[in-house]
């Protein structure tokens, strides 16, 4: 095994990391700003993939248009969910948790009703099919695209967080919700917007992942726990934290498989356990002054 092999694995880790980031970042937003444990995040991802399939494979539309439509639809679903249902459970995190999980079950069966049990596939978009070669390194163009897209999204979100009024409110709300309310800002609307953005990002994650995986029931369960690990690892409410956590998680997964192949399913949970035991506040936050 020479250096090209390890470098290729490194790139594989980057691509896994970025797929994970796009998905986890919406979750980080929802968990950080609203404190809601959104198990249905995986379902949003899955719906995003299925919608893309519907638009591209069944209706024969353009891949890029489909991605945008799918993500926007998810934003709509997220908006409705939060606005009419979830907001009634304000202040009761355990119930929110069970409630979002109830929707995981509901969405799963709705998809089964609508699309059946046969796995679906989406072809790689024309523009990005094929291999990208630099010297001895070969990697699919589509994955390279995702690797470049990840930081762009991270940058955009960071700008949103730091430079806009909405971003400031979101950051403040993640630190102290009641104070923000007391200052006269309608946290309800902020939350609905945040949930919508979070759902949008999850749908985008699913749509972008759709050409690379088998689109089937159960893909929601497969991604939701790794997403939570990344969010906790990175620290709630921080996009930068989620970004770096995703990068690290991607490499852990890839190189872990290389050196300890039999532990493949466990890495993500071992990582979660280690983070929660050693540094539960995550990468980006400072340890709280009071235990």
């Amino acid at each position: 095994m020479d250096w090209t092999f390890y470098f290729t694995q490194f790139i594989a880790g980057l691509s896994q990391g970025m797929f994970l980031f796009i998905l986890a970042t919406g979750l980080s937003l929802i968990l950080g700003v609203m404190g809601i444990v959104n198990f249905a995040h995986g379902s949003f991802y899955m719906i995003g993939a299925y919608l893309t399939y519907y638009l591209v494979t069944l209706l024969g539309g353009s891949f890029w248009l489909a991605i945008i439509l799918a993500s926007v639809s998810l934003a709509g679903i997220g908006y409705l969910l939060q606005r009419f249902l979830i907001h009634r459970l304000y202040g009761r995190p355990e119930l929110q948790l069970v409630f979002t999980f109830a929707f995981v079950l509901i969405f799963s069966d709705l998809i089964k009703m609508g699309f059946g049990v046969l796995p679906k596939g989406v072809a790689y978009p024309e523009l990005l099919s094929g291999i990208f070669e630099i010297g001895p390194i070969r990697f699919p163009k589509y994955h390279i695209f995702i690797i470049t897209l990840g930081p762009i999204i991270a940058y955009l979100l960071r700008m949103l967080e730091q430079r806009t009024r909405m971003g400031r409110i979101m950051r403040a709300a993640s630190l102290n919700r009641d104070m923000v309310n007391a200052l006269g800002i309608n946290t309800e609307r902020v939350f609905t917007l945040v949930f919508g953005i979070g759902a949008f990002l999850a749908g985008l994650g699913g749509a972008l992942a759709s050409p690379t995986v088998s689109i089937a029931l159960g893909m929601d369960a497969a991604v939701v726990l790794p997403a939570f690990v990344v969010v906790i690892f990175g620290g709630l409410g921080s996009f930068a934290g989620t970004f770096f956590a995703a990068l690290i998680a991607g490499q852990v997964q890839v190189f872990g498989i290389l050196f300890f192949p039999r532990l493949a399913e466990s890495f993500i949970f071992i990582l979660m356990a280690i983070v929660l035991i050693a540094r539960p506040w995550g990468l980006s936050n400072r340890p709280p002054k009071f235990a």
Partner: protein, 400 residues
């Protein structure tokens, strides 16, 4: 007083529910009930759903022809979700609660092993429709009521090895399989048979987790080692994701030959892969809608398309179909629904199927041939079909 009445009410509620859960139903004398343990949700549903369709088709056909011993066949199905705990409970519910006299199913080897024990305990015939592990009939677990109506991993992995062995130029083989019993048995059987035939062959192994979402680390290893042959034991969604990844990385340009087992040549897996399924892959299937071109087979496919509503009927359905036909023929031959008599009737029984005659061995293993072929794109279908098709008998790989 109100509190007391509420307590009584609750006791009645609890009691009523617990008791009423499943009182045995009175079965009409003119009915023969077969319990169907289905796999209708989760990753395996892509196979389990068509199997139920196939079973229903067989039941309809038999009833239209007058039933069995003059009685109507009734199929009662439940969804196990691929979970052994659920399968075990449902088996009891079907036998003890619904009065099923025979059990068709389940699917997945974990469920098969568990339900087999229930069949032994309740003295009811268990007739899985797909069972790949050869542990099912091994001396430790064998009993009169268990049968294996599909080929097993000895046959599948073994035949794949025989084909690879034929080409002396192929010396390096990359073996990839899901890391659980089924995958280990397929790959193990492939590697041991190939080593037996061609001691000069070298192996590189990869064991992704079952239902892994990303195979990139394994695929990059494939590209790195540049093997002559790749053997894939992944099935269902794993197979699709893996093949997509291999296509994206251009593995098919680098490797001479790709062979896969686990019915990956069936239309249900070719359809989602679309253009990402290259030509020249050696794959197998329980059944394909386009072959053989006999009147019986065409009639079967047409009826299957009607009952399932699928324009391109799926390959696995035939296992549900054959199972019911076998059971019905055995009951007819035995002249009674008594389990041990039917067991005796099944041993050595040959029936006609849309793929030709098939025989249930004395050892309870069906001599089930499988369809093998090389994938090819054709204008008639929007998915790859199997070319140079052969129906390979069980005995040519696993001698009696």
């Amino acid at each position: 007083m109100k509190k007391l009445s509420l307590i009584v009410l609750v006791i009645l509620l609890v009691g009523g529910l617990a008791f009423g859960a499943c009182a045995p139903k009175e079965e009409a004398v003119e009915e023969i009930k077969i319990g169907h343990l289905g796999l209708l949700s989760g990753a395996g549903a892509v196979a389990g759903r068509p199997i139920l369709d196939g079973a229903r088709l067989a039941v309809d056909e038999i009833n239209e022809a007058g039933g069995v011993l003059g009685a109507r066949l009734v199929l009662v199905s439940r969804d196990t979700g691929g979970r052994p705990e659920e399968a075990v409970r449902l088996t009891r519910e079907l036998i003890l609660g619904e009065g099923a006299q025979f059990i068709q199913g389940p699917f997945t080897d974990a469920c098969n092993m568990a339900v087999s024990q229930v069949g032994k305990e309740l003295e009811t015939i268990i007739f899985p429709y797909v069972a790949k592990t050869h542990r099912l009939l091994s001396p430790e677990f064998f009993h009169p009521y268990i049968f294996q109506p599909s080929s097993n991993t000895l046959y599948e992995g073994g035949y794949a090895a025989m084909i690879v062995a034929e080409n002396p130029e192929w010396k390096t083989v990359f073996v990839i399989g899901p890391d659980y019993e089924y995958g280990q048995m397929q790959c193990g059987s492939f590697m041991s048979k190939l080593t037996e035939l061609r001691p000069d062959v070298e192996f590189e192994e990869a064991w992704p987790a079952l239902f892994a979402t990303d195979f990139t680390p394994y695929i990059t290893r494939m590209v790195e080692t540049e093997p002559d042959v790749v053997f894939i034991a992944q099935w269902g969604g794993d197979f699709i994701t893996l093949m997509k990844g291999m296509a994206a990385f251009g593995v098919f340009d680098v490797v001479d030959f790709v062979v896969t087992v686990g019915e990956n040549g069936s239309p249900e897996f070719a359809i989602p892969l679309g253009d990402d399924y290259p030509e020249g892959v050696f794959a197998n299937a329980m059944d394909v809608l386009y072959w053989p071109d006999t009147p019986e087979h065409r009639a079967y496919e047409k009826a299957l398309a009607d009952i399932s509503g699928e324009p391109y009927p799926f390959g696995n359905a035939i296992q549900g179909y054959i199972g019911i036909k076998l059971l019905a023929a055995a009951i007819e031959k035995a002249g009674t629904t008594d389990s041990l008599a039917v067991v005796e009737a099944l041993e050595g029984l040959t029936i006609d199927t849309p793929l030709g005659p098939m025989t249930m061995g004395e050892d309870h293993q069906l001599r089930r041939p499988m369809i093998w072929g090389y994938t090819k794109k054709v204008p008639e279908y929007p998915f790859v079909v199997l070319d140079r098709i052969e129906l390979v008998p069980y005995e040519s790989v696993v001698p009696d």
